[in-house]
Symmetry: C2
């Protein structure tokens, strides 16, 4: 796709096929008009967050901002992709927000807050909405085509049915082995990061039963959110 | 060293030899007495941030809090270690604080703020003091023995004399190759991350002259602070 006026992708949840017209969401219209001062006829790239990438020709001035799809590539949903799921205990304080932003920037597909014996999430509607906004902002900023899914908190005892098939299930553990290479091919990598106070022995045993193997990414002790971001960066580095 | 009362290391810049006594800094005394409610006779681990790790036996109640060094291991300064230097342009907004915290947690040895054509640091005494405090907090939290050095901002044109000898000089570049493995052995790894608006062509050329090779860690575009943390996590993962 050619050079475009906007350095970030637009997020347009419903993208028509080539030749179709779409009214841009208010936030995208504001970004184009007020932040980057785009003009009628300019090109911008937009994604629906489900894999589509479209070249949009911006329309004229009016109340709303409309655009025409010049070209669109959709993701083949049947095609295998390289994907990551992160299940994460509670970090301390207000560190979850930037963790969500960084996981989305690094291309994690799904973020699953994990309620553990030593830490339960307080994820009310305001927090869920804020994380959803952060995921969208990271999608735009990092020019990705797939929006990170932010799931509702789930108890660690109940994760089994929701786990994707994978031979790459990891639990971050300072006592685990290092020197592991991230899976390079398509398919899911899944990681569990414990809460700030750690997983308890029963939880570790349960994860072992589910095939989660310990791995270590640093010779120091990492905070929950640091371990989550470090694992995501490690995973992302295997996909270039 | 045996189990100890404090989950975090203490930071005691001057540690005497075995058998010596030391008065603990106010902040460490507060942590021991008020936060973890340690008692006279308890053991705690302390580092001087220059590689020493000491087992301290806490003294009795008094105005200050004194401790006796039961055992100490000092770092052999002549021994080669695995080390990282990160030179980093300005991130957007107030993202530098958590970046400093995360680099220190991940064991980066030195953080060099980098003034570039498209971004200059505003690092007054308050910011420098805050970053120094964050580095100490991360040292304690991540149970490290070496305090991250936070350097004053430097112009990219002036970095050459301060660069350590290294065959591992990297510049983070979304167009660079992936699949690079972090250096496993001792010695320096050095990385440059550009400011939020990017490095300009002259700067890229200058870095190439200095032997910095492009590398890429994500299939999306990373913010400055995300690239810095991702590189540090990548580097850290090679040292386990």
């Amino acid at each position: 796709l050619p050079a475009e006026v906007a350095p970030s992708y637009l997020w347009v949840p419903e993208l028509p096929d080539t030749g179709g017209e779409v009214e841009l969401p208010d936030e995208e219209a504001h970004y184009l008009r007020r932040v980057i001062r785009a003009r009628p006829g300019d090109l911008a790239l937009a994604t629906d967050g489900r894999g589509a990438l479209a070249e949009l020709r911006l329309g004229g001035a009016g109340r709303g901002l409309r655009a025409r799809v010049e070209r669109i590539e959709r993701l083949d949903r049947a095609a295998a992709r390289r994907r990551a799921l992160l299940l994460c205990g509670t970090p301390e304080g207000t560190r979850a927000d930037w963790m969500v932003e960084k996981l989305a920037e690094l291309g994690v597909d799904a973020f699953q807050p994990l309620d553990c014996a030593r830490g339960r999430w307080r994820a009310g509607p305001a927090a869920m909405a804020r994380w959803a906004r952060l995921a969208v902002a990271a999608l735009r900023q990092s020019r990705r085509r797939v929006l990170m899914e932010v799931r509702k908190p789930q108890a660690i005892a109940e994760i089994e049915p929701g786990l994707p098939e994978s031979n790459h299930r990891w639990v971050l553990d300072p006592g685990g082995p290092g020197g592991v290479s991230p899976a390079a091919g398509s398919g899911w990598s899944v990681a569990v990061v414990g809460p700030a106070s750690g997983l308890d022995p029963d939880e570790k045993q349960w994860l072992a039963t589910l095939g989660f193997r310990p791995m270590c990414l640093s010779d120091g002790r990492l905070r929950t959110e640091t371990a989550a971001v470090a694992w995501s960066a490690w995973w992302a580095s295997g996909g270039i």
